[in-house]
Symmetry: C5
Subunit: 323 residues, 5 copies
């Protein structure tokens, strides 16, 4: 589905144009045509592929989707695959995809399965013509910056989740089963983020310093900034994974501790029952000569001794923390 197709010259918007007018505008000096597609059909992709003379392998990748993030140069045309991350209900993460073809005088963006669009990126670019006049490279930067900024929202959600689990981990009444289930789910999500951000991070590093692809010339500082954001994200993900590994061990220790406490309680209560049972057993014996049995105080004293022994024992268990 074609969303937008706009022609710019020196950073200033000329007109919303139809797909058929694109060739005319591409030949203007300092022109930039920015085409945005959404959940594009195979025909649309093939059509624009021919229009902009894109490499068949890249067009194939765009058509098939579900690619890993990557940056490829086909001659002077850059092909960038990014994944979008959006918070979903039930703490899940929704993964979408943005494919970008960036030539000297055009940008073709195709977004699939994303919820939020990039209309605000276009507006921001149009508000700053002096920056947009850098050409297609700046559009590339603006889109990358927006995609990466949205990762941060997901990262913050994951940080909150971990914090939440941590609190439960150390509270006495939490369910170890729920903790371990949540920790495992969090691990999955961290791996998802890492799969999305790490290859993009590697790609970004090739857009500044050293040999830089043509459309990104003179934008070093901007791409370095995106790179820095991605570095921060990767660092956070790494720490989260590290803490999570420790949290899993803590949870195991807590389960063992719980087990240990139950054993203590079991042993203590077993002893509290065993004493009266044993005494009762003794006075249940059928010997003919058991003087205590005939004393009128025998029964109350027997009960009393049971009670006193249990109280003494109970206090001892209490003091040593078994009860």
């Amino acid at each position: 589905m074609l969303i937008n197709c706009v022609a710019y010259q020196n950073g200033i918007k000329l007109a919303d144009i139809g797909a058929e007018q694109i060739p005319d505008y591409l030949h203007l000096p300092d022109a930039l045509v920015w085409v945005a597609l959404h959940d594009a059909s195979d025909e649309e992709i093939s059509h624009f592929g021919e229009l902009f003379a894109l490499h068949p392998l890249a067009v194939d990748d765009a058509r098939n989707g579900h690619q890993r993030p990557k940056l490829e140069e086909y001659g002077d045309i850059l092909f960038l695959v990014m994944k979008t991350l959006e918070p979903d209900k039930d703490n899940a993460i929704h993964v979408g995809e943005v494919d970008l073809f960036v030539g000297a005088n055009f940008v073709l963006s195709i977004r699939n399965r994303t919820r939020k669009g990039f209309q605000n990126v276009r507006e921001r670019c149009e508000r700053e013509p002096h920056l947009l006049s850098h050409g297609s490279g700046f559009v590339l930067y603006a889109l990358m910056d927006t995609v990466v900024d949205r990762y941060l929202a997901v990262i913050h959600q994951l940080e909150d989740e971990l914090e939440d689990i941590e609190i439960r981990l150390f509270s006495k009444n939490s369910s170890a089963r729920r903790n371990i289930t949540d920790l495992y789910a969090l691990k999955r999500k961290l791996i998802t983020v890492s799969h999305v951000a790490l290859p993009l991070h590697e790609a970004t590093a090739r857009l500044y310093g050293g040999r830089v692809p043509r459309p990104c010339h003179h934008l070093n500082e901007y791409f370095r900034d995106v790179d820095d954001h991605l570095a921060r994200i990767m660092h956070t993900v790494e720490s989260q994974r590290d803490m999570l590994a420790t949290a899993i061990q803590v949870n195991l220790a807590m389960i063992s501790l719980d087990e240990s406490n139950i054993s203590k309680k079991l042993a203590a209560y077993a002893a509290l029952f065993a004493i009266p049972t044993m005494i009762a057993g003794i006075y249940g014996m059928n010997f003919t000569h058991m003087p205590e049995l005939n004393s009128p105080l025998g029964y109350p004293l027997a009960l009393l001794s049971m009670l006193i022994l249990d109280i003494l024992l109970w206090r001892r268990f209490r003091r040593s923390g078994w009860l």
Copy 2:
């Protein structure tokens, strides 16, 4: 066993030829002879080794099989060892081998212990003469692409297996023994895939960018595409291994949790039996002066008190989740 022997010129099939005609066709300008062997005998390998003047060390490797994937240049001839992966029954993986010798004007492919052949690769190449006219390098690409694509089927099978184990892991009635057995088996398979894909990935990186072997010139984009697929596979395998390590810890935690729940139940039921036993013991004592014993209500009251105490206890255990 010789499967095919075909001569091409500028990407167009000339003829199916016999092994003895090969030298004639090799001398045609822009010719390409593509020979395919299947579970080749030592004699066949030696024969073609002499025919194409292959290096004795490479011929030895082809004869011995069971090599690790590798890419070696012997002068202008490339020697590539790839492993094939095919899903087998009972979730097992079947590992085969493809050895390729790629010279300027010939391709010799030897496949051993594989189930699926590569007839479709040949057909695809013949349908696209403009690509096949790139020469032996394109045949190399087409074969690598097919082998690597088949890895993906295995990867998806492993992903399904892990997902299946995960569901069982967190369900209350699964067998921890079966889970751990399956996790271990999955680990073995991931290592197998990693052994097959990692060295091939390293080899592929030498086929584009930087100094590229002669037959692969002008095919950068194609080999980069194979490389990208392998990168995706390695990433997935890495994540799988990571999740699997966590799953093993989760399983251990689940076993401990289970143990802990049994202890709770054991303790609870022990208490439920201990109370009536203790009371019965007390009234089984043989003291002469035990007023309760002579009361007609003594027996029913004793039974009632046993019952009431057990009900109270049972409800308490119930509430605290021990029962």
Copy 3:
């Protein structure tokens, strides 16, 4: 909030100047203007950003704060983000931030959320004019050196904490729950330190050897010294993390050992009660022909046998360490 604004020439203080006088002094030969802000407002940052012609992206970063430590060159101007670490109450760590802009003839330092200031750095620099005459690079060094030295205080605090936990870990009466809680908290703090020190370490390596940014020329030995301190800190943090991972395993082993000891005690006491209960049970049977029952020695002998068996058993348990 503007704290200081001082002009120097060849390392010698000229005057405390107002913000509006800065442009005059910047044009003096060999002049250096050193401006220090504290919890600066957005307006202040923008103001000085324009005054010193700083890059908008760097000014943005300074305004937003909460950045990861980094070193960026914008033309001849260095932008360094450092984090400060200060011990807080309850063994917590307080994290602040210092942003530095270093040009050929000026230093702009902005510190946010730090407790201790850097007045002593200024005093030290003014006491050593021959060093300060190296210009803005030396001020950069002096500030970095001070920030890094303060990390060491935090490192020592963490070392003390770990030592404290270690002692408790191996003492018989410590609380495993408290140990695991403290180990987890320590892990978090180590990750914090590592997040602060590691990117700064990477940045520092670019300030000596190889291509060095303009303001840092001729100060190789000094920046290498800071780098060396950071290397030491990272080494210590790494070892701490390593020991901590082992300590967590030790704690788990201790919990299991504790559990094991409780089981032994439980088993031993159960046996001590089970013997008299069994004997009593036997003599509580109602057989008419039980000769022992009628003997006047029957009862005392029964009691004695209970006692002797329990004593023997108790000694055996004692010897084997179960009690």
Copy 4:
């Protein structure tokens, strides 16, 4: 002990010569003198050290033995230390050492504490004079190839051991103690292999590609082949270590599972005994008014109820897998 001392010219054996004739033969054009020592005395090593003008540090290393594998160049002379691995009884590994000095026209090999000799290497070389005519480098290759091939036998032994442990691990009647003992022993052996093969692998990489020491010129393909074998060995060792770490965790899980099953059994049997004991206790009470006691059916009904309750309970435990 001197084993062999043979002179070759252009790959063809001239004569078995005495140690005192060596200098004469060294001066022949295209000559190669190959000296083999076995468990050499210090005097022998010193003697040949002087004869071939070897560097004192290398001679020291050869004398002291127990070195780590390494490759060092002293001028035009290569000094290579390799370790040999031979399967020993009781699944142990026997480690020996081979020190090689390789000059332009001589090879001095000293083997210590190895069982198998290298006579077959010499025979193989003499059978292929066209290869031996490459000079001392080819002898170096042939010896390395043989040493590395022998590693493979050890690797296969270790693979068999792991497979054997794996089978036991998942069988119900294996001894967890024996498994853990064997896993630990296997770990030790893997580390031994890794200590022997890894530094040799690093050394081998310096014998082909890039700058190659003089004696190894024109033998690129051969040393790459050795390198490839070592790469395969290292890969296998790595996977073994990885599987072994998982196997240790599996064993721990199995112990916990076993423990858990015992607890279930303990709880089940305790309940089976507790029920009759409780019922018997109730009818052992001494209340005067217990109607059941006087009924002639009382006793058989009591026994029956004990039996029926136990059968019901037994079946329930059976169904839930506790028994």
Copy 5:
């Protein structure tokens, strides 16, 4: 404290000289002045710092001590910080420090908190004037070689310790608590060695091959030898850490196994007591119609049945390894 101050020329000792004579000797051609201090005071360090024109940052480091090992070049003067390791009582490790300043014609060595001195190094150097004539670089080598050789003694001590723990780990009567305590202590010591040896290893690599500091010219083989020793030490430490991690897991498994065995014993003995108690309970019931009670054989048969059942059970437990 000044220990020695000796002047050499071309490797031959000229005289023991006083500190005040040093400047005279420094100007002799091919002279070398070697000054050794022990636990030097700040004044001494400052004095020699001025005498040899050392860089203030290096002098500061020497004064403060407790540095991490490092190698720094200040112009033509090398500054090397090494740590010494000496076995201490109770298996502890004593850590000392040696700081070396090496100029073209002088060596200043400062050792702090070390027990053994380096008098033997001086003697060895004086015995080999042809080597000492290489100048200050050779003294540097001789001191490094000695320090590193002493590490080996510590390494061997740690290897013995681990072996000792391993034996205990797998013996049935060892204390798991002592094992874990010793494993933790060993881990600490390995980290200490690694902290001492690793940075020195990095430093040594800069003393041969590539660009080498002036005083170390023509001594490549010697420094490579030190480097090789350090590589061996690092390898051993790495393996020890690896084995230790496994040993900790083994210990945990052993604790679990022990626990499991106790549970089995507990269950078995509980059953052995439960049977007679249950039978006794049954015959302790007060039913009027219990024919067995009146039989004269009732009592002995009851006792016999208890005995027989327990013997049968005992044998069964015995066979299944529970007892």
